[in-house]
Amino acid sequence: MSLRATRRRRQASFRWAVVGMIGLFFALPIFGMVEFTTRAPGGGRTLDTWATLLDFGAMDENYPELKAGLVASAGLTVLTVVIMLVMLVPTMTWVRLRLPGMRRLVEFVCLLPLTIPAIVLVVGLAPVYAWVAYFLGESSLWLAFAYVVLVLPYAYRALDAGLSAIDVKTLAEAARSLGAGWPTVMWRVILPNVRTAVLSASFLSVALVLGEFTIASLFSRDNLQVAINQLGHRDTSVAVAAALAALVLAFILLFAMSFVGARRRTHRPKES
């Protein structure tokens, strides 16, 4: 066997070993969660916990905090994504078109939340939320304003990559010269060409919102993670099942994100 073939085989073995170790690292806790949530009281296995989790009627009756948390997180997810997109896409496009000198500043502002611990954010936001509660009420949905700040760095990066892949200025100018106003330029020219980036930013935001605990807990608001934490004191099995379900949902979303990106690349007609 040649030296090159031996080396290639060693490299492949090393790669598989690394992938296997990482797989174990992720799989073991998940396996532990599955094992724990399928334990029957007298020994053996049961899917009762999962059946409870999927029965919304029973959940409302037995675990109202979980349902409330789930509903709040669903609402927060939608609201956060909508606010993030409405705020970020036009701003980033406008900065590219008209204020290129501001690009670094906008990037810095968007990446800033990465460097601020959640507790500091909460201290800063507390007085703001006093006013929010005064004007808009105590609903957990208003956490979306804080979550938009949290998702900014990830969303910015995803959208920036999408906008960098197209010549925004020329496309916008071409559309305007053909008679398109700014809303048409955004809706019919820019957005379709950064669709993958918008989806990436949205999925990342969803995953982040679904997993957020600190801010909601410190503001004493409901969301899925807070509900799971509360439930953990009362029914650990259902709490772990809910946590696992949230984790799997986040995996599915991230997988969907990479799948959408890949499908868009592979479905493009071939070069002539």
Partner: protein, 361 residues
């Protein structure tokens, strides 16, 4: 056949389809740089004007101001006698082809061409017919369902041209649309642009830094320098009757030769040549003479020496140096190139074509 196919001058009512365009005293500064410095330009209905000049001379800024993509600091833009200086780009009714490829990547060639018509709420059947007609006009009917990345650079610019023309714009603006293409495609496409412009008769402003391109396609060529027009003239006049030394230098090759000027004529290389209007009137001057305006004969007693003889395909160029040290370039027959060798003595005789004389450097 649609009215678009009628030549501008052959319409039944005797009118041209294009509209008059006028730029008055346009000024635009970017910090300390004056991109436009009092530019005034009139374009007749249906006329094809090319703006030519070195990088940074303001030609693209002028076109962008006309398109509404830039606002002038002062000055006025009129189309068909109407002041449109404050009109937004989307309401100016101008078709534009950009230097960068500008097809919308998520649309096919047909969808790109129909985009402007969709915005104007043209019924689907008419839109389709118009789109097909435009693609046919640029010779890309077969590529209608292809996306931008499936088209070559030349095809993309053709589609961009079809898209710009589909909306029947009052003015067609071409911002160096050929500069990203290779030389052969560029020559083909520029001829096609001219053919199409003559067919549709739309008033056209074409910006380029390629003088051959400008001279080949335009009715008139404007040479710009430092934000203003140096000369606006028909290509032949611009070439053979440059108004300034800058124009003579910028357009084509020019020999700058010392001469004595008197009575409308210059004594240069031992020969008297007539001078163009606007030339220096008397005394020592620099005369600007084109290489093709200098005849060369092999002569062992000649007062110039061959430095190099270059074969350029259709023609040849002879680089020589005179006894007094001036470099002189002469255009020669391509077949004569091989008859000259470095070090050969030659006699240079300016032809009696009018030349421009400027005050000596």
């Amino acid at each position: 056949m649609s009215s678009l196919r009628m030549p501008a001058t052959d319409r039944p009512d005797g009118t041209r389809q294009g509209v008059a365009v006028a730029l008055y005293d346009l000024r635009r500064a970017y910090g300390p740089v004056r991109a436009l410095d009092g530019l005034t330009l009139d374009i007749a209905p249906g006329e094809f004007v090319a703006l030519l000049g070195p990088s940074g001379c303001g030609k693209t800024t002028a076109l962008r101001v006309l398109a509404g993509l830039e606002d002038p600091d002062t000055g006025r833009v009129e189309v068909d006698g109407r002041d449109i200086t404050a009109t937004p780009t989307s309401a100016r009714d101008m078709g534009m082809v950009f230097q960068a490829y500008s097809l919308f990547p998520h649309m096919t060639a047909r969808q790109n061409v129909e985009f402007g018509l969709q915005l104007r709420r043209i019924p689907t059947a008419r839109r389709r017919a118009r789109g097909a007609e435009m693609l046919d006009l640029v010779g890309l009917s077969e590529e209608a369902e292809r996306y931008a990345h499936q088209l070559s650079g030349g095809q993309q610019q053709r589609v961009a041209l079809a898209r710009a023309l589909a909306i029947e714009p009052q003015v067609l603006l071409l911002d160096e649309p050929l500069s990203a293409l290779d030389a052969k495609v560029r020559v083909q496409l520029r001829a096609e642009i001219r053919r199409i412009q003559l067919e549709v008769g739309t008033t056209t402003l074409f910006v380029t830094h390629d003088q051959e391109e400008a001279l080949a396609v335009a009715d008139r060529v404007g040479v710009m320098r430092a934000g203003n027009l140096e000369q606006l003239a028909a290509p032949q006049d611009l070439y053979s009757r440059p108004a300034t030394a800058f124009v003579a230098d910028f357009v084509g090759l020019t020999n700058r030769l010392p001469a004595l000027v008197e009575g409308g004529r210059a004594q240069v290389l031992g020969t008297s040549v007539p001078l163009l209007p606007g030339s220096a009137q008397r005394g020592t001057a620099t005369v600007l003479i084109r290489p093709e305006s200098i005849a060369v004969t092999a002569d062992p007693a000649g007062r110039a020496t061959v430095v190099t003889a270059s074969f350029l395909g259709a023609t040849g160029l002879l680089h020589t140096v005179t006894e007094s040290g001036e470099s002189v370039v002469a255009q020669i027959d391509n077949e004569a190139v091989s008859t000259f060798n470095p070090g050969d003595k030659v006699t240079l005789i300016p032809r009696p074509n009018p030349a421009l004389a400027v005050a000596a450097d």
